[in-house]
Point group: C2
Chain length 172, copies 2
DNA sequence: TTAGAAAGTCAACAAGGCTGCCGTATCGAG
DNA sequence: CTCGATACGGCAGCCTTGTTGACTTTCTAA
């Protein structure tokens, strides 16, 4: 195990970052930071009849236009019925366009309309602004560590999804 | 500003970590990691009649025994009424002890009972286990960066609370 | 002593998870 | 062509956890 070698290298130095107290600090940091992380989009959405669930749907549809309901389901990790409610309102309100699949007519391919794209940009720009400020303050090294720990925290399945998303963006 | 100096130092090197694409990666990492972060305690709580809110209450009561409802409210960032429902079930089920304040009889001082402490330990140990694994894999430097970015992401008020919690643990 | 502020409780509503069940359209294999 | 599997949608109903509004108890300052 490469892991063991790394641990060995730390022995005698500082394994203090693995104490229960340090772990608790990390847990609390996650809690507080996540609340901040969702606060800005939530504030925008509060005025409309939408919630965080709508934001998530918009995000991933925007990121991978034409994806099917099932794919979106897998990414979001919720049930079909739960997503459906959200998706229905987005379609009714003309933010999302649901087209019958070209290869497989059972599938629905999801796209954002102009209105949907506009809202998505507004939401994600608010979120990016906060993230950008945090990144700038912390610097590139810290950001690398931030991402490393978050990735290590995901379970393998989710991490695979996350990596797949990465590949998508490399294609552009 | 110290911030400006740091930015200056980066110019010409790599400001690429501030691109919209990198920020989006960070946003998605937060989303996926937070889901994993809450998954283990959620699974334990699903069997009982409790939810994530109960976990949070137990955590902070355990961390600062004797704190009042209002203090807990401030930390959790929810309304009094919302917390009350959660708190009531915990008290009814004998996990939390609510004593009338000594100085001010309007206040309720919250403590965990033996049963409450046991559940808190079970939940937080599950969460710590995941965090520990992630920390070990990522290493101390990454962990430092992780914490830096999370702190920078909080709004100032929350960060102050978070720092105050830190001081509490230093006292022990 | 009395008015107002503060701490906490009860009631009712909404968002968004969940399960279960059913219906329809489509696909692909035999 | 038929039949089972798959993709999607809808309805009913549940739970947790957030919200606002109205209330009691208690304290404090005028």
């Amino acid at each position: 195990m490469q892991d063991k070698a790394r641990i060995q290298a730390m022995v005698g130095e500082d394994l203090l970052f693995l104490t229960d107290d340090q772990l608790r600090r990390g847990i609390e940091a996650m809690f507080f930071a996540y609340r901040a992380f969702t606060a800005d989009p939530d504030a925008i959405l509060a005025d409309m009849d939408y919630g965080r669930a709508h934001h998530r749907a918009l995000h991933f549809i925007n990121r991978d236009p034409g994806l099917t309901v099932t794919s979106l389901l897998a990414v979001l990790g919720v049930t079909k019925q739960s997503l459906n409610r959200v998706l229905r309102t987005l379609i009714e309100d003309g933010l999302v366009d649901s087209r019958i699949g070209r290869r497989d007519r059972r599938e629905r391919q999801l796209h954002l309309t102009a209105t949907g794209t506009a809202l998505e940009r507004r939401l994600s720009e608010a979120q990016r602004a906060r993230m950008r400020a945090a990144y700038r303050r912390a610097g590139p090294q810290a950001v690398a560590g931030f991402r490393q720990v978050l990735e290590a925290m995901m379970d393998p399945e989710t991490r695979a999804q996350y990596q797949a998303l990465k590949d998508l963006s490399d294609d552009r």
